[in-house]
C-alpha cells in the first residue's frame, strides 16, 4: 500500500491526503443527512440569522486566513530566498559567521566582515579547478541601491547576459540592476556607507556612468549597482589591485601585493564535485568556504521547525475560534429552540433536528473556511508584494497543497466538533421550548 502511494505522482498523493482528511466530514455528513432534505429549512435559518451567521463565518474565515496565509508566506519566502542564492555556488570569506557572510554576499545586507588578503585570493584564483572567482566589495551606495565592486565576469555569471548595454570596461563605468532607477548613459556619484549613515560627497567628484542594465533576477541584486572592484578600492584611497606594470585593463588577474582585500569571493568550480572539493580545501584557519544553499537550508530547517510550531499554533487558534463559534452556535440554537421544538412537535425525527442543526454549523464552517482560504491567499499576495518591495527577493505567494491540507483538516475536525451542539439541540425539552 505504502509502495503504491509513493509510486503516485505528487499531485495524486496530495489529492489523496486531502480526500483522506475530508473523509471523516464526508462520512459524518452522509450519515447525518441520509434520508432528509434539510435544504429549504437550512436556507431559511441562514436567512433568518443572516447577521449572526455572517459574524460566525467571518470569525472562521479570519482564523483560516491567518493559518493559510502564514504557510503560503513562509513557503514563498523560502522559495524566493533559495532562488536568490542560485547563482552563488561557493562563497569564500575570512573566518567568521557563515550567515553574516551569506547575508552580505548573497542578499547585500550591510555587514562588517573581515577581509580576505591578496595571497589567499590569488591562491583561489590560481586553483586549477576554479572556473570563476570574483571579489565582492561592499560599502558604498547610491540612494537606496548598494554599489558593489566586482568583475565583469561576475556580472555576466549573475545576469547570464545583460538586458541592455555592455559590460563595464573602465573604472568609472557601472552596470545597473533591473530595478535601479538609472538608465544607460545616466551618471551617479557613490556615497560612502549605506542608508541614513551614507556620506554623500565622501568620494569627491568621482562619478560612474551606467553602460549596461541587468535583467531581472528576483534577488536583491536587482536593486544594486555593479562597478569595477578597482574603482571601489581606488575611491577609498587603497591600491587598485594591480601593480605598477598594469596595462589599464580592469578585472583579473590581480596582484596579490596590491590587493587591498575583499570581504567575500564568489567561486565557481568546473564541476559539482570540484565545488565540494574546493569547499573542503578552503575551509581552513585562514578561510571560510561555504555553500550559501547549504547555509540557507539550515536556516530553512530552523524556519521549518518554527513553521511547524506556527502551523500547530495556527490550527489551535482555528480550533479555538471554531470552539468559540460552536459555543456561540449553542447559544444560537437557543434562539432557534422554539422552531426546532415546533419541528419535533410536528413529528419530525430527532435525527432531523440534529441534521438541521449540524448542517447549519457545517455550512458556516465550510463557507468560512472557503472564504478564509481565499482571504489567506489574498493576504499572502499583499505581504509577498511588501516583502519583495522591501528586500527585492521575489516572493511568490500561491495556493499550495499544504494550505489545502490544513483547511481540509480544519473543516473535518470542526465538522466533527459541530456534532456536539447538534446533539444538545436534540435533547432539549420540546414542550418548554415550544412555549417559549
Amino acid at each position: 500500500m505504502d509502495e503504491i502511494y509513493h509510486a503516485l505522482p505528487n499531485w495524486a498523493q496530495d489529492v489523496l491526503v486531502t480526500l483522506g482528511l475530508l473523509t471523516p466530514l464526508l462520512v459524518v455528513g452522509l450519515i447525518v443527512l441520509r434520508g432528509f432534505h434539510v435544504g429549504p429549512l437550512l436556507l431559511g435559518l441562514l436567512r433568518r440569522q443572516v447577521w449572526i451567521s455572517a459574524v460566525f463565518t467571518a470569525l472562521i474565515a479570519v482564523s483560516v486566513a491567518l493559518g493559510t496565509g502564514l504557510i503560503a508566506q513562509e513557503r514563498g519566502l523560502r522559495q524566493g530566498t533559495a532562488r536568490a542564492a542560485d547563482k552563488f555556488d561557493l562563497v569564500i570569506a575570512a573566518p567568521g559567521s557563515e550567515i553574516t557572510a551569506m547575508l552580505a554576499a548573497v542578499y547585500l545586507q550591510p555587514s562588517d566582515l573581515p577581509l580576505l588578503d591578496g595571497a589567499t585570493y590569488a591562491e583561489i584564483a590560481a586553483h586549477p579547478r576554479v572556473s570563476l572567482v570574483a571579489p565582492l566589495g561592499f560599502g558604498d551606495s547610491w540612494r537606496d541601491a548598494p554599489v558593489v565592486g566586482t568583475t565583469a565576469g561576475f556580472v555576466d555569471h549573475l545576469s547570464e547576459g545583460l538586458a541592455a548595454g555592455r559590460p563595464f570596461t573602465a573604472e568609472d563605468e557601472a552596470i545597473a540592476g533591473a530595478r535601479v532607477a538609472l538608465e544607460i548613459g545616466d551618471s551617479f556619484a557613490p556615497a560612502h556607507g549605506v542608508g541614513d549613515a551614507a556620506e554623500h560627497g565622501a568620494h569627491g567628484d568621482f562619478a560612474y556612468r551606467v553602460v549596461g542594465k541587468m535583467p531581472m533576477t528576483g534577488s536583491p541584486w536587482d536593486r544594486a549597482l555593479m562597478v569595477p572592484i578597482e574603482s571601489v578600492w581606488s575611491v577609498h584611497g587603497l591600491a587598485n589591485g594591480h601593480g605598477p606594470d598594469w596595462d589599464g585593463d580592469i578585472g583579473p588577474p590581480f596582484s596579490p601585493a596590491h590587493f587591498p582585500g575583499t570581504p567575500a569571493a564568489l567561486v565557481r568550480a568546473e564541476s559539482l564535485g570540484a565545488t565540494y572539493s574546493l569547499q573542503a580545501e578552503f575551509s581552513t584557519a585562514q578561510t571560510m568556504a561555504f555553500f550559501p544553499g547549504s547555509v540557507l537550508a539550515r536556516l530553512h530547517a530552523l524556519m521549518g521547525d518554527i513553521r511547524q510550531v506556527m502551523s500547530v499554533l495556527a490550527v489551535i487558534t482555528q480550533v479555538l475560534v471554531t470552539a468559540g463559534v460552536l459555543a456561540g452556535l449553542m447559544m444560537l440554537t437557543r434562539l432557534l429552540a422554539r422552531r426546532l421544538a415546533l419541528l419535533r412537535a410536528l413529528g419530525a425525527p430527532r435525527r432531523f433536528v440534529f441534521a438541521l442543526t449540524w448542517s447549519y454549523a457545517a455550512t458556516l464552517i465550510l463557507t468560512g473556511a472557503a472564504i478564509g482560504l481565499l482571504l489567506g491567499i489574498a493576504a499572502s499576495f499583499a505581504i509577498a508584494a511588501a516583502i519583495t518591495a522591501r528586500t527585492d527577493i521575489v516572493v511568490a505567494a500561491t495556493l499550495g497543497w499544504p494550505e489545502i491540507h490544513l483547511v481540509a483538516g480544519f473543516v473535518s475536525l470542526t465538522g466533527l466538533l459541530a456534532l456536539l451542539p447538534a446533539y444538545l439541540t436534540m435533547t432539549r425539552p420540546v414542550i418548554t421550548d415550544l412555549r417559549g
Binding site: G35, F36, H37, V38, P40, L41, G44, L45, R47, R48, R338, R339, L342, L343, R344, A345, L346, G347, A348, P349, R350, F352, V430, I431, L434
Partner: protein, 229 residues
C-alpha cells in the same frame, strides 16, 4: 390518501410535573372516531398538558393513551414522534409557522423529513389544502408577509398535508380577530367532519364550542365534566 379516524381511549392517566406535582389525572375517557371534541377550562387547568399527552409529546407517569389499537403511553419518544408524524396533525395557538419559508413550503414541511416516496404526496396534498383554505396562488411569498389569520390557515394546511386521521389543536383561534377566528373554527370542524377525522381542540372560543360534537371540561387537571355536545 387520508389516514383513518381513530378512536381514543384513555385510562388511569396521570401526568406529573417538576417536583412530582400532579398536572393531570384522567380516570377514563373515550372519544369516538371521527368526532369533533373541544376541551375547555380555566387557565392552568391542564388543558394543554392533556393535549400534549394525547399527542405523545409528554410521557405520562401512568395509564394508557390508546389511539385505535396503539397505546402510545409506553412508547419511547422516537416511536411516539413517528406515530405523531404518521397519524396526527397539530395546530398551535400562535400561528407557529416558519416565517422565512413560503406558504407551500410551510404546509409541506413534513416532506423534508419523510421518506422519499411520501414527499410528492405531501407536497400535492399541502397545495390542495392551501387551495381549499383560500391560499392558492400565494407563490413564494415568505410566510411572515401574511396576516395572522392567513398564517393560522397555513398551519392548518400543514396539519392536514400528511393526511392524518387525528387533528389536535391548541387554542387555534386565540390569536385571531373575530372574523378570522370564526372562519378558522368553521374550516377546522368542516375539514375534520368531511373527511372523517377525529378533532380534539383546546379552546375558549365559543365559535368552536358551538360546532363541537362534544365538550370536555378540565379543572385542576381533572376531567370534571364530559358532556355530549
Amino acid at each position: 390518501m387520508t389516514g383513518h379516524a381513530q378512536k381514543l381511549e384513555v385510562s388511569s392517566l396521570t401526568v406529573t410535573g417538576d417536583g412530582g406535582r400532579r398536572l393531570l389525572c384522567v380516570d377514563s375517557l373515550t372519544i369516538a372516531a371521527g368526532s369533533a371534541v373541544v376541551v375547555r377550562g380555566p387557565s392552568g387547568a391542564g388543558k394543554s398538558t392533556f393535549l400534549y399527552a394525547l399527542a405523545g409529546m409528554i410521557a405520562p407517569e401512568t395509564g394508557q393513551i390508546r389511539w385505535g389499537e396503539t397505546d402510545i403511553a409506553p412508547l419511547p419518544e422516537p416511536a411516539r414522534a413517528a406515530f405523531r408524524r404518521r397519524n396526527m396533525g397539530f395546530v398551535f395557538q400562535e400561528h407557529l409557522v416558519f416565517e422565512e419559508l413560503s406558504a407551500p413550503e410551510n404546509a409541506a414541511i413534513a416532506a423534508l423529513y419523510s421518506g422519499r416516496a411520501d414527499r410528492g404526496r405531501i407536497r400535492d396534498r399541502a397545495a390542495a389544502e392551501l387551495a381549499r383554505l383560500g391560499l392558492d396562488g400565494v407563490g413564494t411569498r415568505r410566510s411572515d408577509t401574511f396576516s395572522g389569520g392567513e398564517r393560522q390557515r397555513i398551519a392548518v394546511a400543514r396539519a392536514l398535508a400528511g393526511g392524518p386521521g387525528i387533528i389536535l389543536a391548541d387554542e387555534p383561534t386565540a390569536s385571531l380577530d373575530r372574523d378570522n377566528a370564526d372562519r378558522l373554527a368553521r374550516d377546522l370542524v368542516t375539514l375534520a367532519r368531511t373527511e372523517g377525522r377525529t378533532l380534539i381542540a383546546v379552546s375558549h372560543d365559543p365559535a368552536l364550542h358551538e360546532r363541537a360534537d362534544r365538550l370536555i371540561d378540565i379543572v385542576d387537571g381533572r376531567l370534571l365534566e364530559a358532556a355530549d355536545g
